[in-house]
């Protein structure tokens, strides 16, 4: 996961109208110009270039040839691609609700004012966000080990045999645990920031009307932070579909369980850098981008409709 995750709850409000509405000028461009130039270079140009690439095929004989939508037809029938998509879809359906559910519970607990040592909890649970995916995966990877790792220690201490967390049956869950560990605190912080700006007077009014804590949570707090919930969900979905770092770093420890087409992103990476199939790789990346955007958009529509 990268920088692209706004921990924000509210939709951006349009800037307050300037004193004089006719102050429309190009001055603003002086400030935003540099951002736009670099943005065009590292976002728009690569998107355009990958669309271009996806329409060609690089052949040993004949060189670069225009093939129209052939690459797309191939991808739609590619079992490796679809099984990777299925894997991240399964991951997303299980891991994202667990992670966001825990994050929400922690945020509500922090916000309730019923905790001892609240600020300690908040900062501690957030800390894994500062740990690089590489380090997080290496740590957990060592701990998962049945021979020298923590799992092995538990086995020998209690005379039990825990399942091998790096075996094909368990590796997806093991990756889910790493991702949950990395991002639960980050999402908690998004929810908590959103909860902080709900006016307390609402809770007081509800209490006077005889509402219990549960009712206050479901009737006031959750609707108030719906925007934050939707945004966190969307970015978690994008993150799941992009899954690459954790499986690729874990792979040396779990060679039998993690293949180089384990996730769609891993597949595009392998196609491009091990298989030299740049054109096909660009096609797979585009299809995955479109799938991601459709799902994210659907979640956004649904999330926003609920309260409308």
């Amino acid at each position: 996961m990268t920088t692209l995750q706004p921990p924000v709850a509210a939709e951006p409000r349009p800037a307050p109208p300037p004193a004089k509405r006719d102050r429309r000028s190009w001055t603003g461009w002086g400030f935003i110009g540099p951002f736009v130039v670099v943005f065009a270079l590292v976002f728009l140009a690569p998107i355009a270039y990958s669309v271009y690439l996806s329409l060609f095929r690089d052949q040993l004989i004949g060189g670069n040839q225009f093939v129209g939508l052939d690459n797309y037809t191939r991808a739609l029938q590619d079992d490796a691609f679809w099984s990777a998509v299925g894997r991240v879809a399964l991951f997303l359906v299980i891991q994202v609700p667990i992670m966001l559910g825990i994050a929400l519970l922690v945020a509500l607990a922090l916000d309730s004012g019923r905790l001892y040592g609240k600020s300690f909890f908040r900062i501690t649970i957030f800390l894994p966000y500062a740990v690089p995916a590489v380090v997080a995966t290496l740590m957990w990877g060592f701990m998962y080990g049945t021979k020298y790792g923590l799992v092995g220690d538990i086995d020998s201490a209690f005379g039990v045999t825990l399942p091998d967390l790096l075996s094909p049956d368990w590796v997806l869950a093991s990756i889910g645990n790493i991702v949950t560990w990395e991002f639960v605190g980050y999402n908690m912080l998004i929810f908590y920031s959103a909860l902080r700006v709900v006016p307390t007077s609402l809770y007081e009014a509800a209490e006077i009307d005889g509402a219990g804590q549960w009712r206050i949570i479901t009737a006031i707090k959750l609707p108030a932070i719906r925007g934050a919930l939707v945004i966190a969900t969307i970015f978690s979905i994008i993150g799941s579909f992009q899954l690459f770092n954790e499986p690729s770093i874990l792979r040396p420890l779990a060679l039998n369980s993690i293949t180089t087409d384990f996730t769609p992103n891993y597949y595009t990476y392998s196609l491009s850098f091990n298989g030299q199939q740049h054109n096909y790789s660009a096609t797979v990346a585009i299809i995955m981008g479109v799938i991601t955007m459709i799902v994210a958009y659907a979640v956004q529509l649904r999330g926003m409709r609920k309260g409308a």
């Binding site: 706004p6 894994p128 500062a130 201490a157 595009t268």
Partner: protein
């Protein structure tokens, strides 16, 4: 921390930022032991891997193999490990550390600068194309960054930029999240009347920005800088595809290379150095978050202000 959030610079700078809350004297919630214990379990889950990392960085390679993961081995080798981490392979770890700092200073610093300028423009100016910029930037956030990586690599390789620091720095310069956060923050923290007054007094746009706007944006800038720093410091995928020469690796890529070394035939197994190097990699960022927490937490809170 709730007190320091409200007492933050943002508060004095922009009184509208938030209404004071939690005075709530009638029916002040009672502290709950059970809830605290449950949260304690959550903290345990969070810190056990970190404790594991600290403990195991004190062990030698053989100590790692034959001692319990959550307790110290008989030999305490932390200082030897740190020394070995920095001297192994002609001190390449130090080089990776410097590379990472370079990428952070230029990448995260540049990203923050561009985001501050752009966010200020979006919040305080009307200009042609503003809506289009908003639509495109927000739309681009939904495009998986990794989907861009392959075409970016091919583009950069045609431009001769791959395997140079620029291949890592230039893509780091754009932080749509930073732009968004600065925009929301600037809209809240800078009263438009103040800008009008400065202009009325004859200050040019550049002067107005530096003298009036910039000081008010400080908490937002710290927040964006911290988050872009994390993104750059922790970046793995981009350097992985862009860099071949280990001399240009950042820490993350170097650590995974050391770890993978054990899998190659005849490779030197240096898990003790991987673990110690990991610890050295996370300490600066965790320290930054702890020391700056009152700034970034107030910066984040401003992003979620609602009417």
């Amino acid at each position: 921390m709730s007190t320091s959030v409200t007492a933050s610079p943002a508060k004095s700078a922009a009184p509208r930022l938030r209404t004071p809350r939690r005075k709530h004297t009638p029916g002040k919630p009672k502290r709950n032991m059970l809830l605290t214990v449950l949260m304690g379990l959550m903290v345990l889950y969070t810190v056990v891997p970190l404790i594991w990392l600290v403990i195991n960085s004190t062990k030698t390679q053989s100590g790692l193999a034959d001692s319990n993961g959550l307790w110290f081995a008989h030999d305490f080798a932390l200082w030897d490990n740190v020394r070995d981490t920095f001297t192994y392979h002609d001190g390449i770890f130090g080089r990776w550390l410097l590379n990472t700092l370079l990428y952070v200073v230029l990448g995260a610093g540049g990203a923050t600068l561009l985001a501050v300028l752009g966010g200020y423009a979006l919040a305080k100016f009307q200009f042609p194309g503003k809506r289009a910029i908003f639509a495109v930037v927000i739309g681009a956030v939904a495009v998986p960054a990794t989907a861009l990586a392959v075409p970016t690599f091919l583009m950069f390789s045609k431009m001769g930029l791959t395997d140079t620091p620029w291949a890592v720095i230039i893509p780091s310069l754009v932080s749509p999240f930073g732009l968004y956060l600065m925009w929301v923050f600037a809209a809240e923290a800078i009263p438009t009347e103040l800008l009008e007054a400065a202009r009325m007094d004859g200050a040019g746009e550049v002067r107005t920005f530096f003298r009036v706007a910039l000081p008010l944006l400080a908490p937002g800038i710290v927040t964006v800088l911290l988050f872009t720093t994390v993104a750059t410091w922790n970046n793995y995928f981009l350097p992985l595809i862009m860099l071949k020469d280990p001399d240009w690796y950042p820490l993350t890529l170097g650590l995974s290379a050391w770890s993978n070394q054990a899998q190659t035939i005849g490779g030197d197994v240096i898990f003790n150095l991987v673990i110690t190097g990991s610890l050295l990699t996370i300490v600066p960022l965790i320290a930054a978050f702890l020391f700056l927490q009152k700034y970034w937490q107030s910066g984040l809170a401003a992003g979620s202000v609602k009417e």
